[in-house]
Amino acid sequence: MLDRIGAKTLDDLYSDVPADFIFRGEYDLPDAKGEQEVRDYFEALSKKNTSLKVFVGAGAYDHYTPSVIPYITSRSEFLTAYTPYQAEISQGTLRYVFEYQSMMCELTGLDISNASLYDGATAAAEAMKMAIACAKHKTRVLLSNTLLPNVLKVIETYAKYHGVELGFIDVNKGQTCIVSLKNELAKGDVAGIIVPGINKYGIVEDFAGFAEAVHTEGGVMIEYCDPSTLAVIKTPKEWDADIAVGDGQSLGIPLCFGGPYVGFMTCKKEFVRKMPGRIVGETKDSEGKRCFVLTLQAREQHIRREKATSNICSNESLLALFVTVYLSLMGPEGMKRVNDLSYGGAHYLHDELLKTGKFAEAFERPFLNEFTLKCNVPVNELQQKLLDAGFFAALEIEENYVSFCVTEKRTKEEIDSLVKVIKEA
């Protein structure tokens, strides 16, 4: 091969690299390992982790992942494929993304879905940029202070560098305050608002009057949602929101210390040209067969460069397959059941915790699988006792306010033993 190239050694291929820059040392890395050594190494590492019963949500939910999901998503035709630029040999990817888009539209009620974004927090930041792009000459976006703190932080980071001015909507009794919203809107210059369907306290928010107030001022309403719960709570469409975003992790994706997850975004059809990310559409091939392609690419970075709506290219395609397979297995009935089981467990735990006398009700508001209580005993001591007993629970949302989450995975026995630990604490 070197002969063909006309080189004597491999180093000849680097004759244009200045000698000063040639790395002559030894990498500060371990020696090469065999497969079994690598496996042993990671097994030893994994034993340094402690498995805990998870009673915390806060943006990552311990739902059950059916066996079919890893079975399908580890098929190498899906796993080792590139972005489906060559539609003729990528119909597998393109079809499931089309199905994913259809399902996300069903859950949110909105018209258009993209092929996925990185995660919920960055999807919210993309939606913020979209609001600015849709509303010409307006530079402010309002964020509810009931959004999860990590989501707020990511939006703030993007806003700082993108030149977006942020305003904040106050909390009233655990829910985004409509009076505060109207006050902020009255200051003018608002391109959009971002509010959570289920907020950091676990409260299912009531957006009566929100969309009308925002639309009157010419802004867009963006709802940050947990898509799993949209099977039973009022949808972004029913609230007349314009854009829905969130994290698809709750739809069959393992916790995995925070990633990979999948950001989703759906919107009303009038906003499609401003939507970031890939979109798959249906068409026909030259013989009239139904097929699917990446479409509306004129929005994207490889065509528009610095004028693109977003810099995103790779997204979380394989995780969209997790979601698609999950929703196919669950169907409408399974999605209702998951929420009913979580609701039942969470409400049982809520009532049992109040009976211990160590907590007080924080807000008289409806919740689904996550709730917040005022803690009347020292929080750190309580958390440590729970941890020692193998529970990850009572996350401190605000000083002396702790939250709990119950998914369908938590059994009555587990809940009872959690309560027992707290009683004895």
Partner: protein
């Protein structure tokens, strides 16, 4: 590969289910939620059995081409083999089941991966430290530019709002710069494909935040004037950003940190062998030189004096740790911010770290050189039938500018005009031969660009077979360009009508016209 025409919605039968969940034995259900916040109509999701689901997605998979199916000479994408041990490690239950906010003490194994991978990447690149928040390459670019801006802003240097990007750059570079609030200034390439230093000089002043470069660039050429470029940019107070998309050929040869770069991202899904997943998940960790470490985004993993790993700078409280007030105590106040919801794509990091451990310090040094060998071998072998605009030695990839003889013939009294075969036609015909197409029509410097990157994991035999196909296609173009223009002929579908797809968008099942 065989054509299969169903969508999961079309398999739906009312009442059929594919889930397996316990009965609801709680005395309540979501029906107890107040009417005003309850969904009124259930979502119209498919109603199918488990076997329906398994067969459907298995059939879909059989219309897909992956690295495990065949060779992917896709320029700038580094489609190397994805070792299977990495998958097993990423799927270990003790790594998969950890909640991202679990207390540090319960995830010491996980945090050790962050710490050790950081060290390994620093050793390989010559950077000081990495952040793992970015979930993809473009996300890494954006994060890197945020760090660059934060550095200038924190020094009170507010006028640096412009960034220099070469005309050969990936489209994500200017797009990331724009998202980061920077004005893009383009610097031209010379006829030999390298940055024109004389064009660069007049662009440099105290409004320049920095320059974004790939080295080797998108033509696979090493920017040998990098030292002069680095000096020029540093002299006016700017920083150098290294786009790690093309890092692979430098493994074992040179390090971005030694070349004068200040900030860089790595595509773990390219250089470090993690699977592309049909377009993600990727991972785009960003590294910086020592002086810039205070500006790295949070959260970050540190090793405490007691030998325990700790997460610093989280927005959300964790057990036994209160949020908010902690940031100042943890010296995170200069950080560029938070760029993703938790701590990046951990399962991708696991795979990349396993890859590094398997290769070890000995073998990782060979990866870059073998990638360059394969690329130059293809370039030299095929240059008699494909136009090679830049003949110099390449690194991991190179660019042809279409066919030498595309088969076009002017009209004669006896026969009508014959239109030649384009780069698109060559790409489509390759699919018939069982190869993925190269990257086409990029970089934009050439009208018929065919960008080929074979990677180091392909054997000579595979590469020879690919080149045989490329040669046959060149002959076919000469003899019968129309045959190429209608390729592919043997794939599950033929060329799709993209114009109609964009003109009359059908973007979900219910958009379909009812017949």
């Amino acid at each position: 590969m065989k054509y299969y025409d169903k969508l999961i919605f079309e398999l739906s039968k009312a009442g059929r289910t594919g889930f397996s969940l316990p009965e609801n034995k709680w005395n309540v259900s979501t029906d107890a939620l107040p009417y005003g916040i309850r969904r009124t109509e259930s979502p119209d999701l498919p109603q199918v059995s488990e076997m329906d689901v398994v067969r459907h997605y298995t059939n879909l998979s059989q219309m897909n081409f992956g690295v495990d199916t065949g060779f992917y000479p896709l320029g700038s994408c580094t489609m190397k083999y994805n070792p299977k041990i990495n998958e097993e490690i990423a799927n270990m239950p003790a790594f998969q089941s950890e909640h991202p906010l679990q207390p540090d003490g319960s995830v010491q194994g996980t945090l050790e991966v962050y710490y050790e991978l950081n060290k390994a990447l620093a050793a390989i690149t010559g950077m000081e430290a990495f952040t793992f928040g970015p979930c993809a390459g473009a996300h890494g670019e954006l994060t890197g530019l945020m760090i660059m801006r934060q550095y200038h802003l924190q020094r009170g240097d507010l006028k640096r709002t412009r960034i220099i990007v070469p005309d050969s750059a990936h489209g994500t570079n200017p797009a990331s710069a724009a998202v980061c609030g920077l004005e893009v200034i383009e610097v031209k390439s010379k006829p030999d494909g390298l940055i024109d230093v004389n064009d660069l000089k007049p662009l440099l002043d105290d409004t320049i935040a920095g320059i974004m470069m790939t080295n080797p660039n998108t033509l696979g050429l090493f920017e040998k004037e990098i030292k002069e470029i680095a000096d020029l940019v540093h002299r006016v107070g700017g920083l150098l950003y290294y786009d790690g998309a093309n890092l692979n050929p430098l493994l074992g040869v040179t390090r971005p940190g030694d070349m004068g770069f200040d900030i860089m991202h790595i595509n773990l899904h390219k250089t470090f062998s993690t699977p592309h997943g049909g377009g993600g998940p990727g991972s785009g960790p960003v590294g910086v030189v020592k002086a810039l470490t205070p500006y790295l985004p949070v959260p970050k993993v540190v090793l405490d004096v007691d030998g325990k790993y700790r997460v610093k700078g989280r927005a959300t409280a964790t057990i036994c740790h209160r949020s908010g007030k902690m940031e100042a105590q943890e010296n995170c106040e200069l950080a560029a911010g938070e760029v993703s919801g938790f701590m990046g794509n951990f399962a991708i990091m696991l795979r990349a770290y396993a890859y590094i451990l398997m290769l070890g310090k000995q073998n990782i040094k060979m990866a870059g050189k073998l990638a360059a060998l394969n690329a130059n071998y293809v370039k030299e072998t095929l240059k008699d039938c494909y136009k090679l605009p830049i003949p110099s030695v390449c690194k991991h990839e190179f660019v042809f500018d279409g066919l030498i003889d595309d088969g076009a013939k002017p009209a004669t009294p006896d026969s009508p005009e014959v239109t030649g075969a384009t780069t698109l036609d060559v790409a489509k015909r390759l699919l018939d031969y069982g190869f993925h197409a190269p990257t086409i029509y990029f970089p934009l410097l050439f009208h018929q660009a065919i960008m080929i990157e074979p990677t180091e994991t392909e054997s000579k035999e595979t590469i020879d077979a690919f080149m045989d196909a490329m040669r046959k296609i060149a002959v076919e173009a000469k003899e019968n360009p129309d045959f190429l223009r209608s390729a592919p002929h043997n794939t599950p579908i033929r060329r799709p009508d993209e114009t109609t797809a964009a003109r009359n968008p059908i973007l979900k099942f219910k958009d379909q016209p009812t017949e």
